[in-house]
């Protein structure tokens, strides 16, 4: 039973809250029973409150706060771009959105979420939590927009063509940029399409919401 906050495993868990340490080690932290149970790969180690570690010390190492029952440390997995339908993210900086999109892509597409520049780390605690375990089942990929070989479809609220009118043969990559600015103008996707929004409505949708609508349509359900 670990009873010192200076224990090496607790120290490592705390350090892995930084993106830098996650990048350096290739490891990440999974907090909570549901998420640890969703793991499809072996853990580097798991600490359970009251079994392996003083519950108070586990709470202190957790980003969830008090009542954390289990924390696991796992090795990050990275995939290559693939599939008939996948998602490319460009400057999607909110970790909750990145995790939610990983979950939606796991539900609606056969390919991974591909991270371009300036995205939140999919292995940060908020993204892992929002992925609800899909981070294990469908590891993300990393690539530049220029490296994508499939047809690219960007969601862009200034586009003329509507998403519903889109005709694109697989393989296709749905491209989602930052909420207000979208995919940078200097990038040239095969198609730019818009989700029609009410004139008296907001300028844009949440990035995870846009991505899900795009995936639903492009998965052929509408």
């Amino acid at each position: 039973m670990i009873t010192s906050p200076d224990n090496q495993k607790l120290k490592q868990i705390r350090k892995l809250q930084t993106k830098r340490e996650r990048a350096r080690t290739g490891l990440f932290v999974v907090e909570g029973e549901d998420l640890v149970d969703a793991a499809t790969i072996p853990a580097e180690f798991i600490l359970r409150a009251g079994e392996d570690v003083d519950p108070k010390l586990l709470d202190e190492a957790s980003t969830l706060g008090s009542g954390t029952r289990v924390i696991g440390v796992f090795r990050q997995q990275w995939a290559e771009p693939s599939g008939d339908l996948s998602v490319y993210l460009h400057a999607v900086a909110d970790p909750g959105n990145v995790g939610t999109i990983i979950r939606s892509a796991h539900a609606l597409a056969d390919g991974p979420v591909i991270l371009g520049p300036d995205c939140a780390d999919p292995y940060g605690p908020k993204a892992v939590r929002a992925s609800m375990g899909s981070i294990f089942a469908r590891p993300p990929a990393r690539a530049s927009f220029e490296a994508l070989t499939a047809a690219t479809v960007a969601l862009d609220h200034r586009a003329e063509e509507e998403l519903a009118e889109l005709r694109a043969e697989p393989p296709v990559v749905l491209c989602v940029g930052a909420e207000r600015t979208g995919l940078p103008r200097e990038l040239h996707p095969s198609h730019r399409v818009r989700i029609p929004l009410r004139e008296d409505g907001p300028e844009s949708l949440n990035a995870a919401v846009s991505a899900a609508i795009g995936l639903y349509r492009m998965a052929g359900h509408a």
Copy 2:
């Protein structure tokens, strides 16, 4: 210039972080310049860092942490159920999801988000932030499921009918429940439909994602 943390306005801002105080007073707090600028109703009061209040004291009263430039206190607005397309939420407990759904409904529907039992407070700080100003433009409503007079369409991943096959004449209310359990079985919507998910995918989608796909489809865009 306010220089004491015991100032009445700062005290009120801190108190309004609790649901109880928001319910008691009918007021809520809006943090940050973008959101305060999105207001379409007059504020009860606004405090600007360096103008009205010591910046450090404003930071301490804010849930955003350091660097908060402005906080406003506003009166909550509540609408009645209306419109050809609206959304009913049942036990959607995550405030970020409630706020995101208010934004999506503002973008895709003509009616409000109607809150049933056990939902997060739409006037809590996380929900207000996720609404991105739509909380002002499209105030939420409150009603029980039984009080809805329009046709009700529940998203339910165990339903036989697919969302794409749905034929329902307006007015309709899209009904969204908790992510895993959906709308309780004892409630009887006019239709139950599912968003088809991959067999090798997760059991469910995020509630805000499901709601947005439902709204996109039911707004007639697919």
